[in-house]
Symmetry: C2
Amino acid sequence: MSKFQATASAPVNIACIKYWGKRDTKLILPTNSSLSVTLDQDHLRSKTTSRADASFEKDRLWLNGKEEEIKPAGRTATCIKELRRLRCEFEGANPNEPKIADLHLHISSFNNFPTAAGLASSASGFAALVSSLAALYKLPATQSELSLIARQGSGSACRSLFGGYVAWNMGSKTDGTDSIAEEIAPRSHWPEMHALICVVSDDKKGTSSTVDVPLLQHRITSIVPERMERITDAIRRRDFNTFADVTMRDSNQFHATLLDTDPPIFYMNDVSRTIIAIITELNRASVAAGGSLKAAYTYDAGRTPTPRLEDPFRLFSQEETPGLGALPLGFNVGVAKKYQIGGVKGFIHTRVGDGPRVLGDEEALLDQHGLPLAELNVSS
Amino acid sequence: MSKFQATASAPVNIACIKYWGKRDTKLILPTNSSLSVTLDQDHLRSKTTSRADASFEKDRLWLNGKEEEIKPAGRTATCIKELRRLRCEFEGANPNEPKIADLHLHISSFNNFPTAAGLASSASGFAALVSSLAALYKLPATQSELSLIARQGSGSACRSLFGGYVAWNMGSKTDGTDSIAEEIAPRSHWPEMHALICVVSDDKKGTSSTVDVPLLQHRITSIVPERMERITDAIRRRDFNTFADVTMRDSNQFHATLLDTDPPIFYMNDVSRTIIAIITELNRASVAAGGSLKAAYTYDAGRTPTPRLEDPFRLFSQEETPGLGALPLGFNVGVAKKYQIGGVKGFIHTRVGDGPRVLGDEEALLDQHGLPLAELNVSS
């Protein structure tokens, strides 16, 4: 009897047009479209092995080697159920295929980055889960069709099903069937692009905020649609000036809407402000010297529920060492306030990456008994 | 020959509904209405003496003892011109009054608070200037009529012409004749209200921002009008819960719109965030213990053009020592991050105050030659 197993890896993505607010929390339908850049899996990725076997007594899941409960109506269960449904259809249409849709699953997933680094693993994690099951089930679905399922695991996971530059179109249907991700351009389209991830340490206050955000509705209806068009066009034309301008404005506006909650949410601290000041000055000096923008910043929202926040900040540039190797003439070093060691917890210099990869069995994360194998190079 | 001289003092005010954006920069017509609380002149005030004399060769002005040029089309000149015009009308209607409208003026003004404390002196300063000239000229104008003139000196100065709780109605006319301030309630209406001013030191980055603020228009048209109504009604009913809620939300939204500029403007730092966290926790614990809100914060925008920013933060409370004397049961002291000495530069504990006062000649700030007298108790 052959082994029904597949392993896949999926990348992390960074939103340049940010998503906040859901019109349907169960289906994870967003209130605005978003656009992201996929990062290189050679540096950051989630990897998942899924196996179906008649000997398994129930569906089981291990994250970084630790078993997690699959809650009946939870997001993991939803993704598994949807992919099983597609496998059933596939088996119905292809009577010679083995009947594995009803077999229980063992799933083992590892991230190669420490979750303590503040990088959200839900996007790459659900993208890897969906990719491994789609490979196991040999589903004839397109990546955009799979994005409908990954989206129900974690909204931004739908964008991690593609490499390069990815749009998540919010859609308008109540069943979510038009809320899908699609590739704007592959990584090869703009090879000069670099990304630097900088983890800013911070203490996060515990109070939770209401979802009453007066400025958010205006952002959703009047601002994001035009920005989606502008940045998509900029990517197609490899226009870094516009790409950088829209990315920085959208990061600032996203954090502005966070500040407009009650109580206000702050994901940026004085170190973040200093980094913004440095990049602003770098770009100002470059433009003043007759050049163009050198780099763009964007700040994530960090992980809300935890008492300690690590705020990952991402910087895009078309240069190897963004702006640091050769400062433009007239750069005012006075903008860089000195901070204690520890203000910045770490840097990861990476580039734009490809979409999920189906890997060979030699990379599998389940042993012969269907239990998780420890993965090398894991620092979680 | 009698001396034509008058001395007046005027208070500082704090905006609870904040003003940002002008539809006419010359007339200083705002893009939204605003509402403020006047602080007690016994603690913070500007004081101005104006004298008209046939021996004076030109209009002259001293601020804190230092002579300042009165620029021909500047804001001080505009205020003087408007008040002279009213004096001309008054002399025309009252032929027995002395003809002093055409005499040159000497004006001396002092603030009793150091400008280095980050408190804007333009509101109290222009209110004192207008009040002293109106007294000198014996103008039969109402305070709201005078507010039209003070507004052209410094927008928020129109609110310093009243005590207690003051609305500045934006108006809609292009000539600004309906953009006036008016009293909502006098200080005596709500004697329990206390105010604590806290000066947070910070380094301000030098880059100036554009006035392209996508979220501001929405705030102006859709949010401020309803908030003006809510807080006005709350003041009339002495409803501190609503007053505090609107004040804190408006401060946060104001700073959110500042963050939505390019490059972003940050007037709050990690110390400001900590103060917000403390007040949020104070209120949360009080409400959880069956009480009501204890205090409200609001943050000013500081003084933009200077390289160093002192960010004054104001706290309202109905208690003598706001929340500090008796912390509510369940208050989580963990929200208060420790900062180095110097993070907070100073506190001023004050209360709601009255409007401008006309003072006797014993308080005059000009000597027998019409030159500025040094004032006691000045720490500028």
